[in-house]
């Protein structure tokens, strides 16, 4: 069989793709109407579980971009059990993440010792002005609802090793 010239083959490829798009549909989705679901682990936005945060500053100090701001004060809380001593608790006044600076590395989520920070796959939070990307703790708390369960692991994973 004689060799098909490359010029003809190339035309075949584009024509084939055109017919495929006609019959099987395109590979793109019409974004505002159809939305693709990001994977469970997708690093979309950082959500804050305020109750767990003790304002220990670990996330602030390990952030490479210095984009987390925490202010807290200490409060005396009533004792857990009747008759116990009053406890000192750190109360969170401010927890801001500047998403204009954040580079989504996830170090803050990793270092948090009390499971107060989570990744959510939510991604639709662009703002027309850069200053509006500084989100406070209420906004970060709202994203808690979108945090998914961690995915199942692949076979052979050492499940004990997880914290």
């Amino acid at each position: 069989m004689p060799k098909v010239p490359g010029l003809v083959k190339g035309l075949g490829v584009t024509f084939g793709t055109m017919m495929k798009t006609f019959t099987e549909g395109s590979n793109t989705v019409q974004y505002p109407h159809v939305k693709e679901t990001p994977p469970l682990r997708a690093r979309g936005v950082i959500a804050l579980h305020e109750g767990n945060c003790t304002s220990c500053m670990l996330c602030v100090r390990s952030c490479p971009d210095w984009c987390i701001y925490i202010e807290g004060h200490k409060e005396m809380a009533p004792p857990r059990r009747a008759g116990g001593a009053a406890r000192k608790v750190n109360k969170l006044d401010r927890f801001d993440i500047d998403y204009a600076l954040c580079m989504y590395c996830g170090i803050c989520v990793d270092v948090c010792p009390f499971d107060a920070l989570f990744w959510s796959p939510e991604y639709e939070y662009s703002e027309p002005r850069i200053a509006d990307l500084l989100h406070d703790k209420t906004k970060l708390g709202e994203w808690m609802e979108t945090v998914p369960e961690a995915p199942e692991l692949e076979a052979g994973a050492d499940k004990k090793g997880k914290k």
Partner: protein, 353 residues
């Protein structure tokens, strides 16, 4: 009412002129719009596994109007060191050459702007006018990319004018006329080896001429693989680099309208033009053709044009581009000898039979 009567002396001169201007606008803008939507927006997207514009109108069909609206709103910018008069003139010259070209295209037995005896000669001549526009656009932009683009365009269009003319010569020899209308008639009233069911479209007898002509058209239209004057990845946009807004729109329309008109000329020269083979309806000459062909004829021509443009665009979206020197070599060392040989063979056969 016969179109011929419309264009005859009964109708006042201003009405005739208005009709011709309107007809010219339709003949230029309608193909351009169709080509842009059908091929640039949709076919290219489908070849790339995507859908193209979908938001404006059903299936994005109003996208072009949105684009035109966008271009018209844009600020009229020109470079500080540009030669402003020439800079503004250039897109008009390019578009004007398209309008000049459409003048000789016959759309039906009587639906034509002018029945020019040397239509072939005229059309090939005015098609080179656009080179002038491109050259001065490149020169007056005061931009080195534009200058390179303009010079490339000049070199390229001159190189490809010749094979195009030589390719058409075969048709002219076979038809024995330079009148485009008569070339259409000659193709559809002719017969191949006594079989007249298909007429005698010259794409079969003049196949080499057709291929050379289409390659030359591809180069003349500066479509990939001959788009060095624009060469987006090398010269940014070549001679169009400094144009924006309305002036760019004119270049843009000019590009696709010229593609349409050239495809019409190709269908007239090689594919039988507006007509169907005369034997289908028992016509014998152009005078015996039914009047409805003045309406159906343009549609037939339009369909043939779309088919021809499909091939032009298909190649455009599939191939990489040549280098300037390779293109020149290809024109002078391959196309011109081939088309000369084609002329010789045609002439010998013409004399022989």
């Amino acid at each position: 009412m016969n179109v011929a009567t419309l264009l005859s002396a009964d109708v006042p001169y201003w009405a005739q002129s208005l009709l011709r201007v309107l007809g010219g606008l339709v003949a230029v803008l309608l193909p351009a719009g169709t080509i842009v939507y059908l091929f640039l927006f949709k076919m290219m997207s489908f070849m790339q596994s995507r859908l193209g514009p979908m938001e404006a109108g059903p299936q994005g069909s109003m996208q072009l109007f949105a684009e035109v609206g966008k271009w018209l709103q844009k600020e009229d910018i020109y470079p500080a060191r540009a030669d402003k008069f020439i800079f503004k003139l250039a897109p008009l010259i390019v578009l004007a050459s398209t309008f000049l070209l459409v003048v000789v295209v016959p759309f039906g037995p009587d639906a034509l702007f002018t029945n020019f005896e040397t239509g072939v000669f005229y059309s090939l001549a005015v098609s080179s006018v656009s080179v002038l526009g491109i050259l001065i656009a490149g020169w007056s932009s005061a931009n080195k990319y534009s200058l390179l683009g303009g010079l490339r365009a000049a070199g390229q269009l001159i190189a490809y004018e010749l094979p195009m003319v030589l390719a058409v010569v075969g048709v002219v020899i076979q038809a024995g006329t330079m009148n485009l209308q008569q070339i259409v008639v000659a193709q559809n009233s002719g017969s191949m080896f006594g079989f007249s069911g298909l007429g005698n479209p010259y794409v079969i007898t003049q196949f080499i001429g057709f291929i050379v002509f289409m390659i030359a058209v591809q180069a003349e239209l500066t479509q990939t693989p001959f788009d060095m004057p624009i060469a987006e990845s090398e010269l940014v946009s070549g001679y169009m680099t400094e144009y924006s807004g309305f002036r760019f729109l004119i270049f843009f329309i000019g590009e696709f309208a010229t593609a349409g008109v050239f495809s019409m000329i190709a269908s007239i020269l090689f594919l039988g033009g507006w007509a169907v083979p005369f034997s289908w309806f028992g016509w014998t000459s152009i005078d015996s053709i039914d009047n409805w062909m003045n309406v159906v004829g343009p549609l037939i021509l339009f369909t043939k044009m779309i088919v021809v443009v499909f091939f032009i665009m298909w190649i455009r979206f599939s191939y990489p581009r040549f280098r300037e020197d390779q293109l020149q070599k290809f024109a002078w060392k391959v196309l011109i000898p081939v088309s000369l040989a084609n002329i010789m063979v045609t002439a010998i056969l013409k004399v022989a039979f």
